[in-house]
């Protein structure tokens, strides 16, 4: 099997895996970073969202062979101590219900706020539209994005 060098959370990891393996499963099964979640496998739910060179991407659609040489950040590496403004906002608002979708929501929100620190309400709704929350914690997610935006801007 081929090997790949991946730069994840500022560390280089070497993994041996089939080249079509989605980064999602490399993270979860080979590198023990299980914060990135599996929800649909087809890019529809956002549970697997990570940052690739600062942009939110679906790790279930990104093959490991495409990820080489890119700067990858997962929920585990979003901040040293869980104190990224988005994480703090999520705690303040007590967003999670079951919590399963929340890593993906946080990764989408943090990439979005980096490019648009002062979004309008409808920009927030558009940005978060790709992330499903089956527990329907949407009111809280929306509020937390606003709280985070105040912290950032």
């Amino acid at each position: 099997m081929p090997t790949f060098n991946l730069k994840i959370n500022n560390k280089t990891h070497t993994v041996e895996t089939d080249m079509d393996t989605p980064l999602l499963w490399v993270l979860r099964d080979k590198l023990d970073m299980v914060g990135t979640k599996f929800g649909c496998g087809i890019g529809q739910c956002g549970a697997c969202t990570i940052h690739v060179d600062g942009n939110a991407m679906r790790s279930c659609l990104l093959q490991v062979s495409q990820a080489e040489g890119m700067n990858i950040t997962t929920i585990e590496g979003l901040s040293e101590n869980g104190d990224h403004p988005v994480q703090e906002a999520w705690e303040e608002v007590d967003v999670p219900q079951c919590g399963y979708c929340q890593a993906g929501q946080i990764m989408t929100a943090s990439a979005f706020l980096k490019s648009n620190p002062n979004p309008s309400d409808s920009e927030i709704r558009n940005a978060m539209h790709g992330n499903i929350c089956r527990c329907a914690a949407y009111n809280s997610i929306e509020e937390a994005v606003k709280v985070a935006s105040k912290k950032i801007s």
Partner: protein
Amino acid sequence: MTPSNKITFSRRSFLKSSALASGGMIIGFNLFNACKSDVKPSIDLSQLNYNDFNAFIKISPEGKVTIFSPNPEIGQGVKTSMPMLIAEELDVLWSDVYVKQGALDNKNFARQVAGGSQSIRHSWLPLRQTGATAKQMLINAAAAKWGVDASECSAKEGIITNANGETFSYGDVVNEAAILEVPENIELKKPKDFTIIGQNTANVDLDKIVTGKPLFGLDYKEEGMVYASVLRPPAFGEILESFDATEAKAIPGVLDVITIGENARNFIKKGYVSWTSIISGTDKVVVIADNTWSAIKGKNAIKATWKKESPLESTESHDKILLDLLDGTKFSTRRSDGNVKKAFAEADKILERTFESPFLPHNCMEPMNFFANVTADKIHLVGPTQTPAESAKVASALLDRDITEVHVEMTRMGGGFGRRLYSDFIIEATDVSNTIKKPVKMVSTREDDMTTGVYRPAIKYKISASIKEGKLTGYHLKEAAINGNMYGLIPNFFPAAAIDNYQVDTANYKSNITTGAWRAPYTNFLASAEQSFFDELAEALEVDRIQLHMDLLENAKNNPEPNIEYSPDRLQGVIKLAVEKSNWGKSKDGVYQGFSVYYCHNTHVAEVADIRMKNGIPIVEKVTCAVDCGIVVNPLGALNQIKGGVIDGIGHTMYSDFSFKDGIPQSNNFNAYQLIRMGQTPQVDVHFVESDIDPTGLGEPTFPPIGAAIANAVYAATGKRLYKQPYMSNMVLEKVVG
């Protein structure tokens, strides 16, 4: 009626304590049943045995309290709210309280089920009693040390004070308290003295969730664990005929391809029947791999042929069957008051409407999965389940092993909604591990999950009302459902007792499609149907729809009937609150309102939906939700559940559709099945009726009424009544979500 009247347990023996070898006090307690007289909690923390106790409280010499809470968490926040009850009566600072999910080696955990919004209702008294008893033991120990009477001492926030103003912290006296006699008849606090109950308290796993720590079943790993992907028949009614695994075996990472099925068939033959053991007699092909992706890829590469074993059913034929049932005579009568036949015969006007709903998959965000390690002396199961005790029974029956050999550990669950009440995934994981003699994680994909589910059954209602001289004289509700009918209790919900001539009949069609409990079973659609009907009924009666409800509830008050489940007063209370807070009848230009009220799962709820039409499509802007759930234990958690229930309800009544053709589910992932997304959600404005009545659950009751509130608002805006869910077809939906 307060639920607490129904709980009885012996105060004398529900709690036992020991001094821990490592210092501190450990209290083991049982909810609902007595502890064995000769058993005390282990003095070694690593040996806590959940056969003898449901849960434990440890109080350390530093005064820190750890609650080993066994109750599963599925987003209802019980892992947070249940410890709040103990901490309240124990009188410690919430910041000194830690919660650990307990593992389970057990035979008899009463109601260790998260479902039915029951957890908080059943534990309200026992958990407080436990906290209060422990506090008294600490006070007694301090009093003995001082040589004073315990009645002269009091405790607050972990500090015991005597009449001279001397103090001990709990930690100072834990070792002495641990070996004291357990006191009886401890008085509980009055609701006005609560300091923790009623406070906003964040989810205890919050930190771990936002930093991506392993918490869920899918995150669990053990040394040497392999992954299993299970190929199940594509159609309900088919079983495996043959398969070719050549291609699958060539995939890197694939370790083995096996079949399971024999054990499950024996298990059926032996007559082990449990409502949770959804199983099929088919053989299943299982691909074992050293990682999830290879297992899934391997499963997709299996070439299988299937043969028909029973009819391959379709939604089209179900629709016809159910409508025929509604028009037929094969009903069982669930409740009959007065003389409905006569009322209808004498009526000068009859309103009759039919309401229809589809099958629905649960679609928990975390797909079904479970870890199993079957060895010579033990069956170790780890994962997300709503019924750990039942899981243990099923695993032991499947492999004919003694129940005491089964050890179940619960992880956090990525959603339950009823799906994790069933044990199919536990049966598969256990069977696979037993076959390959390895620790294994069975992982379903979204497609597996959606197409081999335990669905909310399709149901249709025909509701009719007889009207004479402008007055409502009779009400007749008929249900035609697939695989099961409404519970016995539901015919005792509103409007039972409010209408003199009242009848509920049910008819049933048995299908081979697996169906079961789904968030707010039965009421999830029944409330939509009835409350839409009432809107139309008010119009036919030419009365205001709010007034109609208030009047009917007055009737119910004057008709005291012991089997009635709801409280007419509390329903009137939520109606008034919703009317006031929603500015009912005074909405802005272009905003149309719809009203709905319902009682179910022990909680009373009224909702008003504000919608605006945009390009012919309803946009739900706001929902006002008035709730009477008794004392609100954790307002923050309660708000989350209420808002989630309302928005989930909007999603499923408006957008989610599911159908079958020749036994095959017609959608298998989120590209073909709509779950509500942020852009489609309203702000939910929640108001509680102030109350000091014992608390009731919130996981379910705000879901059922919302469908009717939306339908009634759409009627107000367009003059068009909605009878069939989901209200918006997928085609229209594309216009909305793009």
